[in-house]
């Protein structure tokens, strides 16, 4: 239950930290990034059932944001074109050895109407996750990180953003975020070392741009289904399409 005690003791023992940062590769050269992988995530099975969330019984302030309409969980959302939303697609291997420029600003996670937005997102290792509350009620954001340091912070209505720096990769599986006060609220945040990741939206498509030519393992992750993998080789200025189909049959 309490592996962290061992970690604390172990880190106490290591007074002088071992040298780190061996993974800093050569600086990124935009000129090589010419290839693109696109595709979409189809959904072929029977539509899974879901039940509406009742917010009003526990917290009227949550329900007011939706005008009394019942929301359904964000777990499995099927698009009209038969594709699956909220699938995290990323390059699992093949881009090692580069040091990519960091994006400006933080990755944002908003708490609005007692739902997290976005439900699934990717961010860069070393970037900060900024958790905002737009609700007139208290939230408590609890990050069930397994690789990074877990966090658990209360945010009363109108509180300042909680900012957490993600120091390690944690993409497979992504970190789960839950609200301790509203148990139906959950989100997933994947922390990736490079910028090649994408989340399927309302058309079920994804796009991984500016890749250097090479052979890549592409992973697709969905919170409810099994992880899928495909290997692609792309050449200079080439665009290839990769299709995933859920659920695995």
């Amino acid at each position: 239950m309490d592996k962290r005690l061992f970690l604390v003791l172990a880190s106490l023992a290591l007074v002088f930290p071992l040298s780190s940062g061996a993974d800093d590769g050569k600086p990124w050269d935009p000129a090589v990034g010419t290839a693109t992988i696109t595709g979409s995530v189809k959904f072929t099975g029977k539509k899974p059932r879901s039940r509406p969330i009742d917010m009003a019984g526990a917290d009227e302030k949550c329900a007011e944001a939706h005008g009394g309409k019942r929301l359904k969980p964000d777990t499995v959302i099927l698009n009209d074109n038969g594709t699956l939303r909220n699938v995290f697609v990323w390059v699992k291997s093949g881009v090692e050895g580069w040091s990519f420029p960091m994006p400006e600003g933080d990755a944002m996670l908003d708490q609005k109407g007692c739902m997290y937005s976005p439900h699934v997102q990717g961010m860069r290792k070393g970037q900060s996750l900024s958790i905002k509350t737009s609700d007139p009620t208290a939230h408590n954001v609890h990050g069930y990180a397994k690789v990074n340091r877990p966090f658990n912070r209360s945010q009363p209505a109108g509180a300042a953003n909680v900012t957490i720096k993600m120091k390690r990769d944690e993409a497979s599986p992504p970190m789960k975020v839950k609200c301790d006060i509203h148990p139906w609220m959950n989100a997933y945040v994947a922390v990736v070392e490079h910028p090649y990741f994408s989340v399927t939206g309302d058309d079920g498509s994804f796009k991984l741009e500016n890749l250097p030519p090479g052979t890549y393992t592409i992973e697709a992750w969905h919170e409810k289904y099994e992880v899928m993998e495909q290997t692609v080789t792309i050449g200079d200025k080439e665009t290839k399409t990769v299709e995933f189909a859920y659920p695995k049959s």
């Binding site: 039940r51 009742d54 019942r70 777990t75 301790d180 148990p183 959950n186």
Partner: protein
């Protein structure tokens, strides 16, 4: 914010069994007050009459007090009366007399406690609960329903508690993670909800109203927020609410 119905003494009682509890609480407090005044009066009297002053000498030999024996016997008798005449029968009625007979027309509801909200599970139109189990718990399935079981598909799972007045309610309480405690002050109910156990309680309301369900056992940092709205309503209103909830399920889509 100040709700006039709550003050310094007991909150309003809308339950059928609460009158007995309230009677006991009031009677015991009158008894306590009488005892306290008697004792306090005696002490103050002694402090004044037997204060040290020139010429006053304490009495060495034991005073022959008989009344203290009577006081102690009186306390013992009062406690026995409270225990045998009130405490035991009242508690036995609350705990053991489950309204299981069909003519009592008890409503059954399943209550699931989790960090940090309550969930209320009604059997829905078909009157039967769907199959449930801890292995089905998931973020999109807080009630732990087996989605493949048709009997459970019309079940109503909500975060607020509604039940009709003048009809016995049997609540089956389970907890997912840690110990919680199901508390409704106006119904004079407190019942710990222990993970790994299903605890059955029953109660019946005699008045309608809007109140709150709370958690009385420390269950983590969101313990203070673990509340649910409670609506005790007439049978007609309750049926109307059930119908609305059935609509909200969107089964016909």
């Amino acid at each position: 914010m100040n709700d006039p119905q709550y003050g310094w003494w007991l909150p309003p009682d809308v339950s059928v069994h609460g009158a007995d509890i309230d009677f006991m609480i009031n009677a015991i407090h009158w008894f306590m007050l009488a005892l306290f005044i008697f004792w306090g009066g005696f002490i103050v009297y002694c402090l004044i009459r037997f204060r040290a002053r020139p010429g006053h000498v304490a009495i060495y030999r034991d005073i022959e007090a008989k009344w203290n024996r009577w006081l102690e016997i009186g306390v013992a008798v009062a406690e026995t009366v409270v225990l045998v005449v009130f405490a035991m029968p009242v508690w036995a009625k609350i705990k053991d007399d489950l309204p299981l007979a069909p003519e009592q027309d008890a409503m059954v509801v399943r209550v699931v406690a989790e960090q940090f909200k309550w969930l209320f599970h009604y059997p829905g139109r078909d009157g039967t609960f769907g199959k449930t189990g801890p292995e089905f718990y998931a973020d999109d399935n807080p009630a732990g329903l087996d989605f493949d079981d048709e009997a459970g598909w019309d079940d109503i799972t909500v975060r607020g508690f509604h039940f009709p007045v003048d009809r016995p309610v049997i609540a089956r309480l389970t907890a997912k993670d840690v110990i919680h405690s199901f508390k409704i002050p106006v119904m004079r109910i407190t019942q710990d909800v222990v993970p790994g156990m299903e605890i059955t309680i029953w109660f019946q309301a005699k008045e309608t109203g809007r109140f709150q369900v709370g958690c009385a056992q420390l269950c983590g940092l969101g313990h203070y927020e673990m509340k649910a709205n409670l609506v005790i309503e007439s049978k007609e209103d309750f049926q109307k609410w059930l119908d609305e909830e059935h609509e909200a399920l969107g089964l016909d889509e």
